[in-house]
């Protein structure tokens, strides 16, 4: 499984002005019975997008509106991705074509899961976030350019804003490096730590009869 690689991209915005969007909305639990990562694009925001009989809602949910087709940046309300740890949420967002999410804050586990899948969770100050939400609603031709190497975002007015991203995640995504490979380069240190910290947990062998 190749690690995701992210560089510079330019794309349109999709407004989702709801606070505390939880991962149960991003991918409802009944779609978690899959044993692979494929085919989750239809599960994305499923219950906000589809009627009980499986047809698309009319009027459609925002990500299905034809005027937002192909737009890859979601502008969402505060505390996006709250709730369950399901990585199915970023898998589904990625499968649908979302490359970045702009919000004023993200839930911790979602943020970590998104970065591992090459989706940028970008935290913006409230005024800039509000401006972009407005643009997303009103100016369909507007695009934003995100340059991960520079950690900048160029908004439709031509202004360039830097955004916070930790240096480590930035480097991993720019170079397409894999976190598991990185940990494995330190396996001597892991072995040393294990022998100096033997611990008392053993799942294979109970100490006492039940």
């Amino acid at each position: 499984m190749a690690a995701p690689k992210v560089g510079t991209f330019t794309t349109g915005l999709v407004p989702l002005p709801a606070e505390n969007v939880d991962t149960d909305q991003i991918v409802p639990a009944r779609y978690l019975k899959v044993i692979d990562k494929a085919g989750l694009a239809d599960a994305l925001f499923h219950d906000w997008r589809f009627e009980a009989d499986g047809t698309k809602k009319n009027p459609p949910f925002v990500i299905d509106e034809p005027r937002y087709a192909g737009h890859g940046i979601l502008v969402a309300g505060d505390n996006f991705g709250t709730g369950s740890s399901r990585e199915h949420a970023p898998w589904a967002l990625g499968a649908f074509g979302i490359k970045a999410i702009l919000s004023t804050s993200f839930a911790d586990i979602f943020k970590s899961n998104a970065l591992k899948n090459g989706i940028l969770p970008i935290v913006l100050p409230a005024p800039l976030h509000a401006t972009l939400m407005q643009i997303a609603k009103e100016d369909l031709a507007a695009t934003v350019t995100i340059d991960l190497a520079a950690a900048t975002m160029t908004t439709p007015d031509g202004a360039t804003h830097t955004f916070p991203i930790d240096r480590f995640s930035q480097k991993m995504l720019l170079e397409g490096l894999d976190e598991l490979d990185y940990i494995r380069t330190q396996s001597d240190k892991i072995t040393a730590h294990e022998s100096s910290h033997p611990g008392t947990i053993n799942t294979l062998q109970p100490n006492a009869p039940r």
Binding site: M1, P17, A18, E19, N20, D22, D24, Q25, P28, A29, R30, L32, K33, V34, I35, D36, K37, D47, A52, G77, D78, N79, T82, S84, S85, R86, E87, S105, F106, A107, D108, I109, S112, N113, K116, N117, D166, F168, E179, L180, Y182, I183, R184, Q186, K189, I190, H193, E194, H197, G199, T200, I201, N202, T203, L204, Q205, P206, N207, A208, R210
Partner: protein
Amino acid sequence: MPQTIIEKIWNQHVVDQQDGAPAILAIDLHLVHEVTSPQAFTGLRARGLTVRRPDRTVATADHSIPTTPRNLPIADEMAAAQVKQLEANCAEFGVPLHGWESPNQGIVHVIGPELGLTQPGATIVCGDSHTATHGAFGALAFGIGTSEVEMVLATQCLLQRKPKTYLVRVDGTLRPGVSAKDIILALIARIGVGGGTGHVFEYAGSAIRALSMEERMTICNMSIEGGARAGLVAPDETTFAYLKGRPHAPQGADWDAAVARWRTLASDEGATYDKEIVIDANTLEPMVTYGTNPGMGLPISGTIPNPADESDPAAARALSRALEYMDLRAGDSIIGRPVNTVFIGSCTNGRISDLRLAANVLKGQTVAKGVRVMVVPGSADVKRQAEREGLDAIFRNAGADWREAGCSMCIAMNGDQLAPGEYAISTSNRNFEGRQGKGGRTFLASPLTAAATALTGVIADPRTLPGLAR
């Protein structure tokens, strides 16, 4: 420098810390279940890797399995395939499995403590956000994504940044009818569902010290609903008494040495936290949620808030939307709202003490006509214990449904679910839109409040129950 328990556990587990990079953190216990692990095992296979420490890994099936009698096959083909995949993965990689027919099966966060695997001072992870439950033992326990499950399987380590610390001090004494669930719902109502983001809670204070281990688990369980990835309580005599003699707890001289080590974990006098909050247990009432996130909760005597009273427009919008989804009217009291279903179970409140509380209310009574009452034990062990005590008979005689162990209607993956538009009062932890079935509506509450509601069919204040004993 004085340290908090969070910093002590963190420091003892840092394997490596490179400049600018997150720490490589050693993991003592990795809990695995059928829903968030298949893609991780597939990843291992693709890389040609093995599970580094099967002796620090344990699996069970809980989320998607039916709670109907175990001698019936799993009817849902996808759920059956997922459980089969877990069995195949565990067999191939040597991971011990308490499978869906095992006497030790149960919700992953119920069986870890039961088996004595959850121990103070440990780092514990699981591909599940309610891993915070294990913090009740003074462990640093948090949920991870599936990519991280793969990392831990392969290396028994994770990349992590040091969390910030948040002291939640609960002082005073709970009044009769008010329980651990009400403490945590009150905290979340005060700080909001994002209030603890980036932090780990340490629960302290006289009201926390007075709680049993099962009550502490209820509180730590919902740390994630307050935005914190983990929450913990420093271990004390209550912790050691619970653990002693459990199957995987240390024995003999090892036990004595372990307890001596665990006693050093408590936060030092004068340790400082990034954030603090104090809650007065004396003033707490039973809590109920009225909205579509766990922060939308109120004391049971309260009335449903009005979006017009919200000064923040985003909060007003969220509240309007929640009331619309719940079909509730601002200004109405929450007591007296009718429910279709009562769900007693989950990793928040599916342990034996929870079932005893509910049974105590339902004993010799009958549930309200037309109300479906489901009691789902958190584990096979809880189920056996409840049956030894005759609780199953109490529930059945009252007209409740007594089921096999699992997550059940907490997440509604297994067929136990609400119909669109139905209301449930639930002892679980999430009231998100559709969480308990598409279109279903959830009121979160304690087992006492849920049981009182079962008797009347409308949300009822457990403090009005005759002979209420806490």
